[in-house]
């Protein structure tokens, strides 16, 4: 729901489990805790020893899976997926996990990410006789594995992964093993946990907490994890490159109770807010954060600045899919939808409004107006990340510069559009400093491409939407 406010959508969440009596139930709770990573489709595939049982559908995990459905999915092994639809692609076929049947066994695949050289690889495979039943990048991997001349399955998978360029976290389930693979830059998060005797894999560690599992470690860039009835082992399918974990995971996508590369997301956000208070000290009466993702940064700013943190903005908790959108006329008369400003807190005050990022700017403009409408004397917008000026090709739906208000505009121009008294973005240096600040962090490098335009992989291979050649570089710190 928050994502509807923002217009910035992470595309997927992954969960897998091997060797648990209630594989379907655990996968359900795991996916449920990853719901923020994808709210438009969900799927679970369970292997019951003899066959795959699959259930997929549009909507939230709780909408797709009833108790009856989950109860009818016995089996000890499973993978699940939540997703956004990308580029208006709403065909049911593309809801993951995808299944592939063969007389030698079944294959189930789920992907978080985006393959840069997908178009070229599809053409190549089609020329060799492959038929594609979906338009999903995920299907590529299946054909590449099938086509591989390597002698055993693991070698085939490693070869197939090596053909792909982009950001990808894959779950691969066969009758005999559950595999997890992460691209050589480690652009998306993927972690390993243990629940009793069972191994679990999830996009975020919050899934481990919700099911009572213990965090073991993150999957490394270029690593292929193989879990089977003998246990767990690891192979590198590619030399690890410089880690480039998406910085927006910390800023916005991930749940505050997750740890990414051992750095807690809430703590990271709070540090971003503190750094912002250092970079942009503002005289004001109250601080408020845009719920929910900016609360931590706002608290950090408040702690650093000494200005009191208040609930100046309230999100309506019961606005769901079936909520009736107000007509244009009613909106103009003042009917609010998802967010309202708290007059009792804001009236007559100079307000610092902390947000995590600005994408199109329309939401920021609306919130500034909400605050002024209930009497805010001044509204100072502070953003706990740098301006997003460049599209993402790794699985976030900002694929065009046209949608990005910061692309080609000065901060002052943006300020004027959103109607704030002042506008401050966190600096790139400040962002990196804040993310490095915490002792527990094992973050080695981050993808700042949407801020800097420096992409960690090639991106101009075959996507016609990528017009300009962009060097394969990324910021090192």
């Amino acid at each position: 729901m928050l994502t509807e406010i923002k217009g910035l959508n992470e595309e997927c969440g992954l969960f897998g489990i091997w060797n648990h009596d209630n594989a379907a139930h655990i996968t359900y709770y795991g996916l449920q805790s990853l719901q923020h990573r994808g709210q438009e489709g969900a799927g679970i595939v369970i292997n019951d020893g003899n066959k795959l049982i699959v259930k997929k559908g549009e909507g939230l995990v709780t909408e797709v899976f009833s108790k009856q459905v989950i109860d009818e999915m016995p089996g000890h092994k499973g993978i699940g997926h939540v997703r956004y639809t990308v580029n208006g692609d709403r065909s049911f076929e593309n809801i993951q996990p995808l299944l592939f049947h063969s007389h030698t066994g079944n294959l189930a695949l789920a992907l978080n990410g985006s393959i840069i050289n997908a178009g070229r690889m599809r053409a190549l495979l089609e020329a060799q006789g492959s038929i594609f039943q979906t338009t999903s990048d995920t299907e590529l991997l299946a054909h590449l594995i099938k086509r591989s001349k390597h002698p055993n399955f693991i070698s085939k998978v490693k070869a197939a992964l090596n053909s792909l360029i982009g950001a990808y976290a894959f779950l691969i389930m066969t009758d005999n093993e559950l595999m997890a693979a992460l691209d050589p830059n480690g652009i998306h998060p993927l972690s390993i946990g243990k629940l009793g005797e069972s191994y679990v894999i999830a996009s975020e560690t919050c899934a481990f907490d919700i099911i009572g599992a213990e965090f073991i470690r993150d999957v490394e860039p270029g690593e292929l994890i193989i879990i089977n009835d003998e246990g767990i082992h690891s192979e590198m399918f590619a030399p690890k490159e410089k880690m480039a974990l998406c910085a927006m995971e910390y800023v916005y996508f991930a749940r505050p109770d997750s740890n990414l590369r051992s750095l807690n997301v809430h703590t990271a956000r709070k540090n971003l807010g503190k750094q912002l208070a250092i970079e942009a000290p503002i005289e004001a009466d109250v601080i408020t954060g845009v719920p929910d993702s900016s609360i931590s940064a706002a608290i950090g700013y408040a702690e650093q600045s000494g200005i009191p943190y208040e609930l100046g903005l309230i999100k309506n908790r019961y606005v769901g899919r079936t909520f009736i959108q107000p007509t244009q006329q009613l909106r103009e008369q003042g009917v609010k939808m998802k967010l309202s400003a708290v007059r009792g807190v804001v009236d007559g005050k100079r307000v610092i409004m902390v947000d995590d990022s600005i994408v199109r700017g329309t939401t920021s403009k609306r919130i500034v107006k909400l605050l002024k409408d209930v009497g805010a004397k001044e509204v100072h917008v502070v953003i706990s990340s740098p301006p997003i000026e460049h599209p993402c090709f790794y699985g976030v739906d900002t694929t065009s510069k046209d949608d990005l208000i910061a692309s080609g505009r000065t901060v002052e121009e943006i300020r004027e559009i959103i109607g704030a008294n002042s506008l401050t973005f966190l600096s790139e240096e400040g962002m990196l400093k804040a993310l490095k600040q915490d002792d527990s962090s094992k973050l080695e490098g981050a993808c700042l491409a949407c801020f800097t335009g420096e992409y960690p992989t090639e991106i101009n291979i075959d996507e016609p939407t990528v017009a300009t050649t962009i060097n394969k570089v990324y910021r090192i710190y």
Copy 2:
């Protein structure tokens, strides 16, 4: 949903509008903003000039009302209601508003509250030939109005209200007017707003903000507000007694963006938290609040104490009605439902956990365990209200002392049950001081009956569940 965590349920929310082109739409948004006051049933009655159009159902406002339904409710006047089911009463008949048809016109009624002398009055009316089609207290008023010998409708209504003892906020809609009435102690909130040329009535002021209406004033205890095509006027149906607004509205029930008697709820909660920090200074590393209702108090405690406020507890946003409850076995294995503790924030720390109240204690116990399970070194529970030792007879579902952990137990005994390192409740004096603290407040007196056992009305009239005679007194401050 939070209420499910707490086990403390306010029973109703009211909304009414007179003279607006989109009465049904506005009532929908108004009710939606009051959803926290009742999530098990909703109803809207619209008067289209010729007839009443009614739609009621079980569930959330967004579940009962589709766009099509609202669009098919033209008319300029309407009232709506959200409710909890009380005492296992789930019969559809009791979903409000209730309708009464007569050749002289139609009557629609909605009630927030509870009538203490309902049993006696029903028996009296039945003896005179009245038939009851519901078991709701609301129906009483209709029969009393019908039976009244007074010459005009307003006199009838005033006489009928005078026969009732208890806590009640009524909305009354006829073909010619919309009325709002509040019991002489003003136990529940009820406010008047203006939206363009239309008058609106709502249980909380947050409804005005969401529809873009202006707050005019609160309905006074003992007052009957009459809105018709000529405008608005007021009559007293009973002498105003000492105001006794339910203190738990500030502590827990109301939305933080509402103002009750001109005191902002978030601000009130923050002041309760500050007062708690003064009364109970504790040495600790982090402060966390139980979401959502205790966040403000936790921030207040943090501001006063200087100990950092952190997101140590996270509520799962997507857990709704259709969520599959984990089995006992899975729960024992550690599967969480609605709340999870954030290891990255809590591990190794001394934690102050702020909650607004303790009812049965089971939730507190569970949360303390959640925090300890993720590594909290110490958990100090501080409660921003006094112990709830007495049942409520005014519309909150704590009708038996047996359900109240604080009834007949010392604080030390409760602490041991919930497993905290320490437990502190706010004092009654501290609570009153905190609620008086804000300049804007027009609160003249509060009902503290659940803490003190001193009830603002007679309560032992005819309810067999009330065993002991309790004097009609209430705390004055």
Copy 3:
């Protein structure tokens, strides 16, 4: 569904049971077998010894009642109701049974029929202080019972029934007894059965067959049946008048497997068809009936005439509530909805099309066209009842002469409108002769008011829709 084809709607079906372990389940199956009598709403009330459990809703029995709902209705006594909405009255309040609560016990009421003096009685009761919560005639009886000065409940009920004029079959359930009452003319059917040790009441005997119960006898006109834990007994609340069972029950409304006054409906229809063949011998190649209600008459016509009966018209079995109606444009292009003609049977043939009645004529016209479109050389329409020229005031929704094609038109004029090669109606005498023909029949008299305009009760009392004074007479045979 068929009724949608016809535009002639019976309004209700009743079922009651006393003293059965599975009262709710049995009532469900009973109502289900009466579904043809009302498809727009259904309700069941079960008395579990301590309280009433009620479930009502819009739609079919299978839509309103899930297994879970029925399983949650324990109790040994119950009544149920299926209904059509009359006069656009779709308010949920009017779905029956209606419930009335009192400290002396609960009352549940269900009605099949229509009260002629409802308006006058409501005004009278309102003047005495009664409040009506529905616009249903059923509620009248509750107030009349409550107001009655008679000393005991049975006397009150008898007095109340005596105040009512019209056609009514009532089920009345209290904590202590189940009652069934039939108006003095016995206009609607109502029968008594026995299922093991339990007594059951139903609108049609097909309900007994479906639950495995034994038919005992029909309720007599003017009779009040009282079933309680002691057994069953009968009292007359009014002198029985000349029986006037609705003739259209035989012709169209009832299920062919029901017996009305011991006359099987299929047999009656077949006899109507035979009589029609005697009155209207036509030279033709094939006979076809309009499914489903005219099949029996068509078979009778075929048997009598020697012309082969064929399936010339097929009803689409899967067309339900959610069927997408073809647009006007598609209909004009030939898209059919519920009925299609069978070219392989009809092409090049002279066809006798048997239908049971003509109301508006639009359906007949459409079916004639269907048959001609697939090659019928001639279409001879024969109707197994006389022309419907007069409105019904007893619970069938033909309340205005304007809707009746036969009102004010000659048979030749109607023939021209519907485009048939010939059109024949059964004579009134032929109809009565056919209904008397079977030895088993205990039918003493029938209401032919819609054919003759002679109504068995007063009808011009207070209904403004009844413009002309019509003598209280009815046809005797």
Copy 4:
């Protein structure tokens, strides 16, 4: 629904249209008329010129497709499919049509039938690198087309079809054409129609009647029909073998208003009934048919024998998917489900009960008991087809001899099991005679394999379930 009574399921229905403004709507109505051929899943694929729009789901056509869904499927070309699930295969992936994407265009496929050499072909294709995403035979054709070395698409399709052995009616839609192919024996029906300027293809001609289309001709065995914007043309992909249209299509599967090979199904059934009356003259009072599929045969028997046809068995029209099944206990107490016997018609009579076939015998046994329970003096069961002794491998779900009561039992043994006074099956000769009887028929040969064990194709190729070698022969007449 009837199929639930019988336990004999045809697996699929096909519909396709090229060049119509409302392709989705027309396909909806077409599929709807074919609903009897498959009630567990439905799908429509529309080509809007640029892309494929697909919607598939479990359940009836009216359950899968809402008005909104159909309205959101613009485009001029489309194919649709209704299906049964076979062998417990309920995976969503297998709901047809199946889609295949390629940079050279899209392919949509739908199949009615079963491929005998599917296992062998899959293994072969997998060895060449193909990956299967479904377990449906339909997917085979896509891979075979893709793998074909032939120079153009039509040649590829013809070569691919030639690799398949079995019973198949395929619809194939690309961006440029709609194709229809029928196996060389023409085991399943497939017909061509014209609707204005549009060509349509359907499994049965009833679909043409429902949409107002004109029947052109049937697809010939071994024929490939190609429809594109230039018009329609035909090629043979295989030499036509002896036609072997499934005889059970006439007996049971098809709708009575369809013509198969120009022979009307109702007429065919009536002739089967007449032939049965000739072969098995029985002294009795009434004849009744098991609804719905045996009505025509019963009428034929009655016409031939002079014994009156009556509605002795009534099907409950409102029993759908959500109907609550009676518990075993209630069933034993006499609660009926889908069928009830009419006491008023049957009591004291000698009854001839006409049914079209006996599969397991459990239903026949139940119906005989129903009739005897309401007083039938004698029940003579006559079956309008020979005993089903052999499994079907062509798409009907009688895959094991164990399920067939007639397999290995004498007629007298079956009679004893079902409890009838006598039991007669139609002879094979009589069946063929009856099917040849009508002048309009163009039926050249029928598959009687389930009666005779003589299969028109090889069947022992690679299906492990087929234990014995069965010669490739079929009965000639």
